[in-house]
Each structure stands twice: as C-alpha cells, then as structure tokens.
Amino acid sequence: MSDPINASLQSALTELEIQRKEVSGVRIKSYSFIAAGIGLAIIGFLFPGLLIAAAIGGLALLITGIVFLSKATDKFNSYRHEFKQRIIAAALKTIDQSLELEYHSGLSEQAFINSRLFAQQPDRYSSQDQIYGSAGKTRFSFSEVHAEYKTVTQTKNGRQEHWHTILKGIVFCADFNKNFHGLTLIKPKDIGSALGAWITDKIPLFSTSGKELVKLENPDFDKTFVTWSSDQVEARYILTPAMMEKLCELDSRCRYTISASFTDSCMYIAFPLDKDYFEPPVFKSLLDQTTLNEDISLIRFMYNIIHQLDLNTRIWGKE
C-alpha cells in the first residue's frame, strides 16, 4: 500500500505506541516471572536438598507471572480496543467515508450457513471484525471468519476429536446488481470437486442435491472453478463472459482459490487467508506501518471488488 496515512492517524499511532510499549513491557515481565518459576522448579527437582525452597520460590514466581499475565491481558484488550476504534476505523475513512467497523461482531453462523459457500456445517464457529459500507450504489460487508468441523475417531485410548478447518479467512458479501431467485455456487476445482462434477455429468442419477453442474465456456474459469446451480440459465445470467473473466482476475490476486455463491440476492466470496488481520502488533512498533499497511491493503482490496466486478452497474432492473 503506498497511499499516505493522514496526520490524525499518525498522531493516534504515536499515542497508541506508548500503550503498546506498556503492554509489551508487562508481557515480557510476566513471561520472565513464569520462566524463572519453571526454572526454579527444575532446579528443585535436580537438587532434592533445595526442593522446598525451590518449590516455594517457584510457586511465588509463577503466581507473580500469572498476575502480570492477567494484567497484560487487560492492558492488551484496552490497547486492542483503541487500535480498532481509532486506527482501523480512521483508516477506513481514508478509503470511503461510508465504511464502518464493528470489531465485536461478524458474519453470524446462520448467515455463513445460508451463504451456502461450504456444504460442511461448522461445529465450531467464530467471526469478528465486520466492516461494512457502500461503494457507490452497492452495499457490502466483510468479516473475518473461522469455521471448523469435527470428526471423531475411536482409538485404543478412547475417543479422539479432530478439528478441520472449513474456512479461515474472510467472507465478503455484497448486494448483487441483478435479480435472481436460485442458487449458484462456484467452488475451487480440486481433485474431489472435479471428480464429483465428472460423475454427476456422466451419471446424472448421482446428482441428488438439486443443483446441476454448469459447463461454462471460459477455459480459464473452467480450469479454476467448478460451477453448480439450481438454474442453468440463471447461472449464465449471473456469470456473463465479462463476470467470469473478472472472477478469474480476482482469484489470480489471491494466494488460495476463492469460492463464491449467489443466493438471496447477494454475492458471497470466501477468501481463505493465512493470517489474522486488524490485530495490533505487541512486540513490533506501531510506527513501523507494515502491519497497518497490510490491513489497509486488504480493506482496499475488498472495497475495490465492487468496482472490479462492476457491481455498481444497475441497468438490469435492480436498484
């Protein structure tokens, strides 16, 4: 991101940097006490003559460390709150005045399920950092989402739970510029989905989900995605040749293949990501704006989707 961060943002960063230093100081203290406590405990085990003294000393250090850790957590929560309210919220305004952040809320689990982006229902779900606003005529929002499902295996030691990620990343939702009634899904083309599509195509008896495979003409799109829809014509009405090209272009800018769905008059896009965004650094200076610039780049990227996909063109009877 190359655009300048305005002066008020700069002064807020300078103020928050003091808070950050406090948080990192308390954290370092707490870690040091805990480490010293563990060290003493080890000494106590190695030298049985010192066991009682080491146990008492170690315990005292551990308790002090935990007290400091709890203090650090409180301080961090306050720092995090300030960072999101003052820095991220102000950064949003540098992109568009309509953008707002609600960092405590995110995409609800029901909305995530209703988006139909993933067939797997989550067993554990969390979402935060909802950013919403308008780009021209189009309202949109996006949130960080972490959805997982559970599998249980029986081993000789008993039941073992395994958690698998459905999505860790961002779900973007925008009001679509055309009227439609059904469901259209665009999934990354991996071996599993390609095989499923092939079987459904060759032996239609296996198609039980009420969705049909949509064979589209764009070879790049077809190479990257598998498309399913409840209505073949409607899928092509949504996925015009231009839209397919734009989705391919959008995908090429992402590290992991995106998924998209069109349902309930909205367009949803899931972006799998490696890291959490909009979180303040603790052991790295706030004045080094690398982290913030990454956050702003992401917001700008999401904001620009509306223009990139031409969602503001409202000539098809939908205002």
């Binding site: 060759k202 949509v214 073949q232 014509v233 409607e234 409202r314 000539i315 009877g317």
Partner: protein
C-alpha cells in the same frame, strides 16, 4: 456361465444408461430452447408499453417506431419457427437500440420513470436471452459430444440422432454489456 450372464447384465445396464443419457441430453436441448422462447416472449411483451411511452414524447421518430410496431406485429402473428423468432429478436434488438439512441434528443422522455423502468427491464431481458442462448449452446455441445463419441455414437446411429448447430454468438454476447453504451450512446 455365471461370468457370461454377468457380462450380459453389465452390458445391458450400460446400454440402458447410455440410451437414457442420450434421450436426456436431447431433452435438455429442447428445454434450453424453450428457455430462449420464454425469454423472447417476455421481451416481445415489453414492446407495447415501450412503444406507447416513446410515442408520447417523440414526434419525429415515426420510421423507427413503425419498424418496431411492425416487428411486434410479426412476433404476435404466431406459428413462427425457431429461426424466425431468433431473427425477429435480432431485428428488434437493433431497432430498439436505434430508438434508445434517439432518446438522447428527448430529455423529458429520458427522465420519465416509466421509460427508465422499461429501459432497465429491456436490458435485463437482453442479458437473460444471452444467458439462455449460451445455455442452449452448452446443451447442444453436450448432446453433439454424446452422439459423436464412442459408445454413444453407436446408439445415436440406431436412434437416428443427428448433430445440431449451435447458435452463433451475437455481438452482445461477445462483449461486456456497458451501461454507457446502452444508456448514453
């Protein structure tokens, strides 16, 4: 003996699957054309309103309007073949596009809510027809592949299934629909 019976059963099942699949693909082509038909009907139904609205505001576009009226009469005549319908739609698209261009000369009409509504519904129907044509072409390609490839070709020969032609892409399908071109040309 059992092996022979098993082979016969497998071949029989494969035969039924291929036969049903070919019939399914042919029906898909018919259905896909029905979708175009429905969209064309929807578009033709827009014409009376469009003509009436434009008539109220324009005084000097008689030729263009009468051309559209004439095409609408043809569309209503019924008993049209598929090719005739598509040809009629092509002419209508071009005439209405001409009409939209002349709207620039009539600011009152350009600002009329009813007209704006019709204009966006027309654009919507244009995209829907383009989508239906693409669906038809996909169904035809699927059908042609099925009847030309082995072992479908053997059944297709017995069932007298012939390859079908895809619809040529219209200019509108090839390019991106631009609001600027539609409304401000």
């Amino acid at each position: 003996m059992i092996l022979a019976a098993l082979i016969i059963v497998v071949l029989l099942i494969a035969g039924i699957v291929i036969y049903n699949s070919l019939i399914g693909k042919k029906n898909q082509v018919t259905n896909a054309f029905s979708a175009i038909d429905v969209m064309l009907k929807k578009r033709f139904d827009l014409l009376p309103n469009l003509i009436e609205t434009v008539k109220q505001y324009t005084k000097y576009e008689g030729d263009l309007l009468s051309k559209v009226v004439e095409l609408r009469a043809q569309a209503n005549a019924g008993n049209l073949t598929n090719d005739q319908k598509l040809n009629l739609d092509k002419q209508l698209t071009s005439s209405v596009k001409g009409l939209m261009v002349t709207v620039e000369n009539y600011p009152d009409l350009k600002a009329n809510q009813n007209f704006l509504q019709l204009q966006s519904t027309w654009a919507e129907s244009e995209e829907q027809i383009a989508a239906a044509r693409r669906t038809y072409n996909a169904a035809v390609t699927d059908y042609n592949d099925a009847i030309m490839m082995f072992p479908g070709s053997i059944f297709a020969g017995m069932m007298n299934y012939q390859p079908m032609n895809v619809l040529a892409n219209t200019e509108e399908e090839r390019k991106n629909i631009s609001a600027k071109e539609l409304f401000n040309s």
